[in-house]
């Protein structure tokens, strides 16, 4: 089974200067462990919403809004696509990922299973 691990942050509470070198090192270690365990399929961080654009469709009309999306409490800051044997396992990996962030960060991880087409092998 595949799970999308969405990482949501409140851009207003992100520590100045972004992730510390220590955090980057801890995260790197965990991602390496997940890769070697055959769990991590893909992961990336996203640039701040200041550089993002939102397209909204309503009643057949599309409106565009450029970032930053300050009105939003939480925005997606990154993701990891993982392969796990169960949702509980995905939750455990997400827990480990959050824990690397220590006390300074406020983070939400949303874990959603990826729908598999019928007959998909993995």
């Amino acid at each position: 089974m595949r799970f999308m691990m969405l990482l949501k942050i409140d851009e207003n509470t992100v520590p100045a200067g972004g992730p510390s070198p220590e955090l980057m090192a801890e995260m790197g270690k965990l991602l390496d462990e997940m890769t070697k365990a055959g769990v991590l399929l893909d992961t990336a961080g996203l640039t701040p919403t200041a550089q993002g654009t939102r397209l909204h469709l309503s009643g057949g009309r599309i409106t565009a809004t450029d970032g930053p999306f300050t009105e939003a409490k939480e925005v997606i800051g990154g993701y990891a696509l993982i392969q796990a044997a169960s949702k509980e396992e995905a939750v455990e990996w997400a827990t480990r990922f959050l824990r690397t962030h220590g006390d300074e960060w406020t983070l939400t991880s949303e874990i959603r299973q990826v729908e598999e087409p019928p007959g998909a092998g993995a």
Partner: protein, 431 residues
């Protein structure tokens, strides 16, 4: 629905099992290094799991569950060893001969606890589980159990056998390893080739067991492909300099990328060239091509897995079936026939040669296989031959071959297709 205490316990147990699945291989590997007995190591890890199931629902999962499990197993092991020592001393005072090796020290456990060198232990465990003194079946079961962290009932379901059978297979395998005095070590250079190919064979066998089964009710089967992929990726992480390991991973990633396109709406198999390529999984193709590139970087384009992966990659790179690089596939099959000669490889080469250089040349390769006893009852031989003959306009011969192929296949859908193709060649052989 109200949440009952039982629900929360259930939930907690599932969470603990997930932690255990992540940690068990490392746990068993580290313990085996110290106690030198994989059977005892597994028992100790099970004890630690039981302790976690008792404690964690109340205390919550600790911050570092792996270290907690290892520390718990360590304490059990030390208790056990002290009891054994006391017993041995009693035996000694009775005047018996009590020659015994010094048991592992607490310091030895503490070295495992800091997790340094645990990857070496894991690698030793992989080689132990795939040891040639074991039967192939035993290697598969032991690898899935000790390295993959699967429960015996999961292995039993995956291989459509009973839990008791799997249980017995694992017990016997561990006993066999102990009897044979198999050391817990990475094999020496002299036997490296054989030992590594045993590991890769076990992983690919698990993969094929899952891949060959069609989807549907057999929900465990796709999971088996996932388990094989995980084992493969893990082994690649442990042996990053071995091209064939990356070759195997590449092959499995690319094959899995086609899963969704391999079966039609009624569950019928769809041949590679007829698959809807938009349903191929781009992420897995990308991962597969990256693993293949890694194998090539390491100079490993000559092993059977890397070669098969290279062939699979030719298909993966083609946006449409017409864009397939058949000359390259023909060359790769030629190379594969050198390192892993088999009539089936040769038959595949015939197809590729036929696609690349014309039916005449393909037919020449197939005709070289006519007397091959291994292919005597294999429907694809006449089927491929019929196809090549049809392309050459030799309808009467083609018809005969298609009918022969239809009679040989046991798959009714395939049979219908072959009979249809025979009919297309015309009743009297004139298309």
């Amino acid at each position: 629905m109200p949440v009952t205490a039982e629900d929360t316990t259930d939930e907690a147990h599932r969470a603990i099992e997930a932690v255990f699945r992540i940690e068990s291989a490392r746990l068993i590997a580290g313990l085996t290094r110290v106690v030198r007995d994989v059977g005892l190591a597994e028992e100790l890890s099970q004890d630690a799991l039981v302790a976690a199931l008792e404690r964690w629902p109340e205390t919550g999962v600790p911050d570092n569950p792996g270290a907690w499990l290892m520390a718990t197993a360590r304490n059990r092991a030390i208790d056990l060893l002290r009891r054994q020592e006391r017993l041995a001393r009693k035996v000694e005072t009775l005047g018996r001969d009590a020659e015994r090796e010094p048991g592992p020290s607490e310091a030895a456990f503490d070295r495992v606890l800091d997790r340094a060198g645990i990857e070496d232990d894991l690698l030793r465990l992989v080689f132990l589980a795939c040891h040639p003194v074991l039967s192939t079946q035993a290697r598969v079961a032991l690898t899935l159990r000790l390295v993959g962290g699967l429960r015996t009932d999961e292995i039993a379901r995956a291989f459509l056998t009973s839990e008791a059978t799997v249980q017995q297979r694992i017990v016997r395998a561990k006993k066999r390893l102990a009897e044979a005095g198999v050391p817990f070590e990475v094999p020496a250079r002299a036997e490296w080739g054989e030992r590594l190919s045993s590991v890769l064979e076990v992983i690919y066998l698990v993969f094929n067991e899952g891949y060959a089964a069609t989807a549907g009710d057999d929900w465990m089967r796709p999971a088996l492909c996932e388990d094989a992929l995980r084992l493969g990726r893990m082994t690649a992480g442990l042996l990053p300099e071995e091209p064939e390991v990356h070759g195997l991973v590449a092959l499995m990633e690319i094959q899995t990328s086609r899963s969704a396109a391999r079966t039609g709406p009624k569950g019928e198999p769809v041949l590679l060239l007829e698959q809807n390529r938009s349903r191929w999984d781009r992420l897995l193709i990308r991962r597969g091509l990256a693993a293949l590139a890694r194998a090539e970087e390491l100079g490993g384009t000559v092993g059977p897995y890397a070669l098969q992966a290279a062939i699979a990659a030719c298909h993966a790179r083609a946006r449409t079936a017409q864009e397939t690089d058949w000359p390259r596939i023909a060359v790769l099959y030629g190379a594969l026939a050198q390192v892993a000669p088999s009539p089936v490889v040769e038959l595949n080469r015939a197809v590729a040669v036929g696609m690349a250089f014309g039916a005449e040349q393909g037919l020449a390769v197939v005709d070289g296989l006519a007397a091959e006893p291994a292919l005597a009852g294999y429907h694809l031989l006449p089927s491929v031959r019929g196809d090549l003959l049809a392309r050459l306009g030799r309808a009467a011969e083609a018809r005969e071959e298609f009918l022969r192929a239809a009679a040989l296949t046991r798959n009714t859908r395939e049979q219908a297709l072959l009979e249809e193709r025979a009919a297309e060649q015309g009743e009297d052989g004139r298309a």
